[in-house]
Each structure stands twice: as structure tokens, then as C-alpha cells.
């Protein structure tokens, strides 16, 4: 634990134990998303699905990167991950991104993907709001993750025909925002 770093956050008025619990729940959401997106990606087949596969894979890897980036901050603030992975799964801040009943329904898969990202956008917006001007490190980390989650949402939203995302596909390495925070 980074004792003085935690004290500084406490002094700024943040309820550190609540913040740590939020970080753990969001870390759970990231790791479970990484798992469920593996299944979704595997089912993105055929003419409709193949075109989305690469974007789903980028989001999947970046969500795993988010988990990696969150873990050190959890421990810095005096928290820890649950010892039982089943407990970790069930405490996720977002519902499981489960494969739809009809796995051939690509639109339904896209709805699962976009809703998972929207839950993440809300979660990190909340953490950013809690920590702005108070816990600079957690805020910077959450903001970096939020930037990537917003991009994920916009990609899937675009495929659903909700409007342009303004983006082109990722070029180069994944996690341009979060990479500096990865151990």
C-alpha cells in the first residue's frame, strides 16, 4: 500500500474504502468482459459477423488492459482482489456480456457489446466525478480508461446504425490512453 498516497486521498474528502470497492467492481467488469467478449468474438461469423470481429477483438484486449491498469491502483490504495474468482465475477459493476439466445443474431450480439460499453462509460464517468481535483492518480487512470470505453461504445453504436463515430479503426498498438498505466 502507498500509505501517504492513501492519506492524501482521504484528506481530500474522498471515502477511500468506497472508492476502492468501486475500483474492484470495475476491475471485475473488465476481466469478465474480456472473458465474455471471447465468446462473442468467436460467434461473430459469416458475412455480417466477420466485419465486426476485429473491432470486438480490439475492445476485448483493451478491456483486459484496463483490468491490468486498475490492479496496481487498487493495491496502492490499500485494497485487494477477492481470493475467490467466482466472488470477483459476481461483484462486477456491469452485468455479464452474455451471448444472446440466438448466437447467429449479429445485431443482438452488437446490442450486448454496446450495452456493456455503455455500462463502463457510466462507471468511469462516476469515478472521474468522484475523484476530480481530489485523487489525481485515480482520476487520471479512470479518465484514460473512460476515453477508450467511449471509443468502444461509439464503434459498436456506429455498426448499429445509430450514427457516425468519427473514428477509423485503431492503427498500431491497443490502448493508446491506458498503456502508460500498465505495469
Amino acid at each position: 500500500m502507498a500509505k501517504v498516497a492513501r492519506e492524501m486521498v482521504e484528506k481530500s474528502g474522498v471515502k477511500v474504502d468506497e472508492l476502492v470497492e468501486l475500483l474492484v467492481k470495475n476491475a471485475a467488469a473488465e476481466l469478465t468482459t474480456f472473458y465474455y467478449y471471447t465468446i462473442l468474438r468467436a460467434n461473430l461469423i459469416g458475412l455480417e459477423g466477420e466485419g465486426i470481429k476485429a473491432i470486438a477483438e480490439t475492445a476485448r484486449i483493451e478491456d483486459r488492459n484496463h483490468f491490468e491498469a486498475l490492479v496496481p491502483r487498487i493495491y496502492e490504495l490499500g485494497g485487494k482482489l477477492p481470493e475467490d474468482m467466482k466472488v470477483f465475477h459476481d461483484m462486477s459493476a456491469c452485468p455479464p456480456a452474455s451471448l444472446p439466445k440466438n448466437p447467429k443474431d449479429i445485431r443482438a450480439i452488437l446490442e450486448v457489446l454496446v450495452n456493456a460499453e455503455r455500462c463502463a462509460v457510466r462507471g468511469y464517468t462516476h469515478i472521474c466525478n468522484l475523484t476530480a481535483g481530489k485523487d489525481h492518480r485515480t482520476h487520471a487512470l479512470s479518465l484514460a480508461i473512460l476515453n477508450e470505453e467511449i471509443e468502444h461504445e461509439s464503434w459498436f453504436s456506429e455498426f448499429l446504425g445509430e450514427g457516425p463515430s468519427g473514428h477509423f479503426m485503431r492503427q498500431g498498438e491497443t490502448s493508446p490512453f491506458v498503456r502508460p498505466f500498465m505495469a
Partner: protein
């Protein structure tokens, strides 16, 4: 429609097997089936069994998320009574 006093609503806090109810703008919703309200707690900070109208103002989402939850009653509160009556809720 069932009317809940705030004291009655407090029993439905999602703990020890109790259903998880929450109130917003005088309407009482059942969040028991929601993954995001396990054991009556939402995102660490919010607990079931309360009127969360004020809390929603600071949430990173609007009241539109409540449409997914079944309605189980209304708050028996003067504050909301006239509003619900004009909306046609008895």
C-alpha cells in the same frame, strides 16, 4: 396500487432475502431481479429501501434506466401525491 410509507419502504432493502425496492419521483420500483442491485446495493454508494430521487441527479445515467424495473407501488407522501394524481395514478 400499493402505497408505501418511507418506513415501510426501508424494510425492502434487499438484505437477508428481502426484496430490493427503491423509490423515484413517488413511484416504487422492484430492483430485486437486477444484476446491478445485488443484496440491495448499487455501485457501492446507493442502498435499496429508500427514495433515491435526489441521488439520481448525480448519477451517470438518467431515470430512463428505471423503465426496466417492475413498478410495485407508490410512495404515500404528500410531496408526490398531487403529482401522481395529476398523472392519473390512483
Amino acid at each position: 396500487m400499493r402505497r408505501f410509507t418511507r418506513q415501510e419502504l426501508a424494510f425492502f432493502n434487499g438484505e437477508d432475502g428481502a426484496p430490493a425496492y427503491l423509490a423515484h419521483e413517488g413511484v416504487v420500483y422492484d430492483a430485486s431481479g437486477s444484476f446491478l442491485w445485488q443484496k440491495g446495493k448499487h455501485q457501492v454508494r446507493h442502498r435499496a429501501g429508500q427514495d433515491l430521487t435526489g441521488a439520481l441527479d448525480q448519477a451517470p445515467h438518467g431515470p430512463d434506466v428505471l423503465v426496466r424495473l417492475p413498478i410495485v407501488g407508490v410512495l404515500a407522501d404528500e410531496e408526490y401525491r398531487h403529482r401522481l394524481m395529476s398523472a392519473g395514478v390512483s
